[in-house]
Amino acid sequence: MPAVISISNLTKTYASGQHALQDVSLEIRPGEIFALLGPNGAGKTTLISIVCGIVRKTSGTVLVNGLDIERDYRAARAQIGLVPQELAIEAFETVQAAATFSRGLFGRAPDPAHIERVLRDLSLWDRREDILMTLSGGMKRRVMIAKALAHEPRVLFLDEPTAGVDVELRRDMWELVRRMRDQGVTIILTTHYIDEAEEMADRIGVINHGELVVVEEKSRLMKQLGKRQLTLTLQEPLAAIPPELGDWPLALNANGHELQFTFDASVEQTGVAPLLRRLEQLGINYRDLNTQESSLEEIFVSLVGRKARQ
């Protein structure tokens, strides 16, 4: 299936000389939720801004459903909705007028029924006559999403959509994003909350210093780069790890009460069984054991850290 967004060799150097993006190539598949992760200043917002036409690229090409964002900007942009990171909405308009304005701006004929649907989906219908400046930050965030959805985009960019919002709104947004995906909308989100990406994304891209470090299916990424940890709760605390256990990368935690073994789950010989046998031979007894997968956050930190060290 052809990519919804096809980015090839994209670079961006600002007038200040800052290299925000360096030779980025990326394909976004139709109907997926793609999470773009990266530390502050990694180039996430620049990448989104270029696709949406807010920032000019230095070189490279960006196609939206095969349409060049510069040559065919009208058709390309009509398919895109953007919820930017900053809370930026008109001050004196009503909620409904703001959404209606956005629909018209993107070249769509008025459709009050669609606007009503969007406002209801975002729990804004009862506040439709409210002046935007009187709304709370969370409600303003909802209005920004409503504005982005007003023209029925096929691709939705959410730049840090849940930054600074409460738990309820965050859950609502996740729900909305899933609903949009079910309707065939492709979603690209950037987030600082790794658990958000872990919860929602089909694929994950990690960007750092303007370069794409990795693009992978979430499950495969976690399987390939993830580690498992075996934690043994000891019956008697250990003062130090016995030298006989030197073959295993172990850590002693909780004042010697916990022995932790980190291993690669993707290989055949994980080393767990020999370790347990050796513990038995050494008379080190444990009363509980559990294994845990590394979180996406740990994988992210490891990826970003690895790149920084190179």
Binding site: Y14, A15, S49, C52, G53, I54, V55, R56, D72, Y73, R74, A75, A76, R77, A78, Q79, I80, L82, P84, E86, A88, I89, E90, A91, F92, E93, A97, T100, F101, S102, R103, G104, L105, F106, G107, R108, A109, P110, K147
Partner: protein, 258 residues
């Protein structure tokens, strides 16, 4: 999705948004220039008109009316258009305009169209107000409307440029206060440049506002400081300069896009 050849809905959305802002502040938008005009006509008409009853066969009070309308057209056009585009820059909502499928000229059409509409409406309100105080005749109504429209559009384009150029609200006031108002007062709004000594008359001819006021006054009373053709040509030249500047702004992304 069929590509748009002309985003009419987009232009209308911008135009309607800007007009809604005007209507929200209708009272202050209309009342301020009306009171100012009334004061100008009454004070200037009474103070100077008592010493100088006529200029070229027209009572002094009536003589200054075209200049007063032009003064309002200049200031209102610049302020409406500059505010219209500067406010989204200031609040950050400009991202939506820049990411929408609207061409640069469509954005200009929406903002400048609304700013010019407001200015023309105000110009007509001022004309109606002045007619309560002095007797006004309009010899060439078609040309009166043409000059009014051309001036409103031209200065709205100029205001649009100021709104993009300005980095803050202080800079927004700079051009109208330091350039436009002095040029208007020195541009024959309250006197005929024939009244000036020859040397100053020559200097005044470098002031583009002279041509605008002169042509506009001609459409009322059939008398002008410079030829009507020259007035019209100068207005069109100024309009063309503004259009070229705006085209350059959008081509380069000057103070709009990184």
């Amino acid at each position: 999705m069929k590509p748009l050849a002309f985003n009419g809905h987009g232009v209308w959305a911008i135009y309607r948004f800007e007009m809604a802002r005007f209507l929200r502040t209708l009272l202050q938008s209309v009342l301020t220039p009306v009171i100012t005009t009334a004061l100008f006509v009454v004070v200037f008409g009474a103070a100077i008109g008592s010493r100088m009853s006529e200029v070229g066969g027209v009572s002094y009070g009536a003589f200054i009316v075209p200049g007063l309308i032009m003064l309002s057209l200049f200031t209102e056009s610049i302020s409406n258009a500059s505010f219209g585009i500067h406010f989204p820059k200031f609040t950050g909502t400009i991202f939506e305009i820049l990411s929408a499928p609207v061409a640069a000229w469509e954005i200009v059409l929406g903002y400048v169209g609304a700013a010019a509409t407001k200015s023309v409406l105000l110009g007509l309100v001022i004309l109606a107000t002045a007619s309560f105080f002095v007797s006004i005749q309009i010899l060439h109504p078609f040309w009166m409307m043409t000059f009014m429209l051309l001036t409103a559009v031209t200065f709205s384009l100029f205001g649009f440029i100021v709104g993009i150029w300005a980095k803050n609200w202080e800079q927004m006031q700079l051009i109208p206060m330091l350039v436009v108002t002095p040029l208007t007062f020195l541009g024959g709004a309250f006197y005929s440049i024939d009244m000036l000594p020859p040397a100053w008359r020559t200097v005044t001819l470098f002031n583009p506002v002279v041509y605008l006021i002169s042509g506009f006054r001609w459409s009322f009373y059939g008398q002008s400081d410079v030829g009507v053709g020259i007035s019209l040509a100068m207005t069109v030249v100024f309009l063309a300069i503004c259009l070229v500047t705006i085209a350059w702004i959008f081509r380069t992304g000057y103070r709009l896009k990184n």
